[in-house]
Amino acid sequence: MSLLNNLISKASQLSIFDKQPTEKRLSKDELFCNEYHISQGETIVDECAAELAIENSFNKNFPEVPLESNLSQLRFLSGKVYLSQHFLIFRDTYDRQSGCLKLHLSMVKQLKRLPSRNYLFLLSILTYNDLRITIQFVGIRSHCEQFSYNLKTCLTKNLKATPELVPFLETLYSEFLLSKNGSSRMDIVTPPPGGLGLIFKFPGDPVKLQNRIKTKAWWNYLKRNGRNLCINFDKSFLRLINVGLPNRLRGEIWELSCGSIYDRYMNSHEYTDLLAKNQGKSSIAIDEIEKDLYRSLPEYNAYQNPEGINRLRRVLTAYSWKNPEIGYCQAMNIVVAAMLIYMSEDQAYWCLDKLCGQIIPGYYSKTMYGVLLDQKVFESLVEKTLPMMHQHFNKHDIQLSIVSLPWFMSLFLNTMPLIYAFRIMDIFFLNGPKTLLQVALAVVKINGEKLLECEDDGECIAVFKDFFHSLDEHIPDIHYKNKTRFQELLVVAFREFSHISDETFVQYRTKNRNEVISGIESYLKKAQLRKLPKTPNLKEEHLSNVYDRYVSVLNNNYVEVGSDSSVMNFKMFAKFMDGLVDWINLEEKENIAQQKSFLIKLFKNWRSDEETGLTLENIAVGMNKLMEHDLMTSISNFFEIYDVNGTGKVDRDGILQISEDLIFLTTPWRDGYLFDEITNKAIESKIAEKIVEKRKNFDSSDEISIPSEMNFDKEKWVHEQSQRYLSLTSNFLHRAFEYALPEEENVDLIELEESEGSEKKSVIANPALNPSAPVYLNLPTFRMVVLADETSELFFTRTFKQSIHLDQKVEKGSTNVRDLFNNILADGRRVAVEVRRRINSDHTSRSSEKSQGSNTGAYNEEDDDFTANDNNEDNDYLLNNAEANVLNDSIPVEKGDKAFLQHIDHQIGSDQEGEKVIDF
């Protein structure tokens, strides 16, 4: 027997793991919490196969522990017990519906180990609500011992929650009901607080709804199976729910079914505390709530009355403070207004929390992905279960999800008459979101014939509207004799669509998840990009890449995609920049401090206020600054990064920081990872020289072929460039201090010091070198210092932008020195121009006319780019021209740079491509 049980429980465990093929696989503990509707965070402390018997011990003569002789008469269920921090849960393994005990440890009044008999290990638990539970463990002795030890430990830890127990039980109608009818040891005189229905009447006629009979049935059930914090759910629980809950118990059974009762018990003061803490504060959510207060179930009297409105306001507001990510979403007002008819504020608050957090997550979130996903699931299920309907909808381009969205969002509350919607809610809280799907499918199925005649969305909406308003009508059909349409709906929904299980739901959600999320993502992307201010230095493609990168960095931290309230903190920003620019590589530990210090400055420079991080707009505007095309603006943008206080001055520390940052920012060029224009020109010129040398008797009419590879002294170029960048920094430092202006206000101080001691005199002679003499750089001086050096001027004009890879979707490019050389060859046009220039200048004297003639003949669009250079007849082309070009802006740099990346692949692949042929 025990072996069999073990096997069964193992098998059932396995199936738990198999049923969640979600992307993010839930842990065993998470599954456990979801399955038993207890709050996330509980973990399974221990589990053991066991047999369990539950009896009501209210009878005065009932022994506290079962007598040995009676044991054989007990009706044992066999299954498994789980122990978590606050719960003892038993589930029947054979039939999941026949028994499920949920016991909050606070309810344990007494725990006793029974004298062992036949090697059986028995525990007896007596609860505050008069249940006597006998557990007979199945398994090896040591495990049983361990389990009972763990149980004891958890009980001890839980002791401090117990004082809250009695006041909590007094808020529950079930306790009052039993106490009133003399079936409980508790003595509760005052009825507990309840919903607005107590004041404003519950919807529907209580006689017609058989309220009394239902209450009595529940009284019987609760007496036998326990209630609230310790209750056994068996088949009749579901049956009682299916016939509709009695008014006074409805709220409590809702919170019990969905599990919010446990959250309320364990956080008994949160609701009032939260309201008190945030009193008088305002928020966007509150404004939105105010707008809708009078528009929530306006047909119900309470919501024309301050009492009802105030309760609704308080619950919605409190929740918006608890969960600012959701805040307030229209439809929540309707759901909460409905709950408040049957529930106290505290109950409704926790029930709403459970709803948004665990039952229908994402329904009311900022992107509403949950409800959109379930519309997709619904449409897929219509396709699968009602293919004819699906075809019809497709044919006429009817979007069912447009119609069904409000059903799901408002849990049918604004769709059907309230009394019926509440019946659906009764089942929904117990069975979860699949209930909504089952009902929606049934609605479509029942109206199938009429819907097949509809040719557009509007007509469908009319059919549904008619149907929902005729739910109380009797059906003439013979099968449904004397049944109302609503009863038909229940039968179809929960019998014909009973195969829509949680597993099916999860499966369909997983299947459609990516499509829905990417749909929302691409919509939000477009919408967000549309909202951005103009960024003239960034191409559309650049912005798109910036957005993708931004979102991908955020996604690691937020489940919610593209939420527009999301901002980047510094850590995310660093991740964003990592690899996007050549000078940030977070894996490079050597200069990590330097990288971070620069990033912090950039971060502070880009954000709009000190409180928050970077928004997408901040990033786009910031990137636009980095990519600035205009030299002067580019310099002043850079200056601003160091002008932290916005005074227009950068002090001594700032100057030193700039120079340090310049060293690290120029790393890609110093290491020969990138070549700047000067180096490129020099190499091109060298290649041209070689080609010309090889073919001394060149005639300008000859074709120039550029070899695909050439031997270079690569080290030499890298070294030369590296030197140039080192001197850039040292020149900067030197010039910056040379031209730095003394801080005038402090001049007096220096003079004072001077009169005090004369040993500093020689230093003071040059205030810039005196570390104690404050100096500063203003923008004009900074500009002058930058422009004084050719490499640095070029750096701000174009070079720096080389290191920013906004056009790359992939991570860091793996360009190396060899590629750079090959690339110069690949972009043969420029070399060819250089060759042509050299030949032309050699030949000018003897055949100028001829060469010019053929030049015009071969004139084409590509060559057009070089005409500006052609005018420059200077033989000493190399450096002068580079400089001239910086000023004239006439070199087709962008083309060159692009070719840089594009041609690498071509080059490696085929020799033919390498042979660029240019006609003269």
């Binding site: 509403m368 447009i402 409000p406 604004n414 007509e459 909406i461 477009k526 919408a527 549309r530």
Partner: protein, 218 residues
């Protein structure tokens, strides 16, 4: 109304920030009514209204969308295949005008090419008196309730090729004119011209399928 007349069905969508009066405009147009407290629009509400303009009858199929920010990603479901759009802002709320601008941009980018867009500055009743009062002409006056000038609205409309109105759902000012003008701009519907799904033409005299439907003589 002659029974043989063609009825052109026009799908029209209302967009705009929350609480600018989208639903109220529709209610005024469809039922000539005004209500202070209406149930909020979840997703979107659907209403129809017939309108006779000259010799043609137009059946407006109106999708009145929810204005709350987070519902915006649903909008494409509703403006899909729409022939006309009403972008509404509140003349007393500059933010709603910015939002209107976003909607216009989105429609131009995403909606049907030939969509007719009307820009509506609603709640004209609030500013009507100060507009007529010459003494408060000073534009910079903060106490003025009007925060979006007629000129701003007109400029946006001119730049983007929109119809432009200032309306009041409360008093009914200009409301029917909006719909009539849109109707006049709807191209004469002949089935051969229609791209599939772009326009729906109701050639038969089908029974009114919607309970909200009524008729109006504009």
């Amino acid at each position: 109304m002659s029974s043989n007349k063609q009825i052109t069905a026009v799908k029209l969508v209302l967009l705009g920030e929350a609480a600018v009066g989208k639903s109220s405009l529709v209610l005024r147009f469809v039922s000539n009514d005004f209500q202070e407290n209406k149930e909020p629009t979840i997703g979107a509400a659907f209403l129809t209204q017939r309108c006779t303009i000259g010799d043609k009858t137009i059946k407006y199929e109106i999708w009145d969308t929810a204005g709350q920010e987070r519902f915006q990603s649903l909008a494409p479901m509703y403006y899909r295949n729409a022939q006309a759009a009403l972008v509404v802002y509140d003349v007393t709320k500059p933010k709603s005008f910015i939002k209107a601008r976003h909607w216009v941009n989105e429609l131009h980018e995403q909606a049907s090419k030939n969509i007719i867009i009307a820009l509506c500055g609603n709640k004209y009743d609030i500013v009507e008196s100060e507009d007529n009062d010459v003494s408060t002409e000073n534009e910079d006056d903060d106490s003025r309730k009007r925060k979006v000038s007629v000129q701003e609205g007109q400029t946006l409309a001119d730049d983007e090729g929109l119809l432009f109105f200032e309306t009041s759902a409360k008093t009914g000012f200009n409301v029917n004119e909006v719909f009539t003008t849109i109707g006049k701009h709807i191209p004469e519907a002949t089935s051969s011209e229609n791209a599939a799904g772009q326009e729906r033409v109701d050639l038969t005299n089908r029974l009114d399928s919607s309970s909200t439907e009524s008729t109006c003589q504009c």
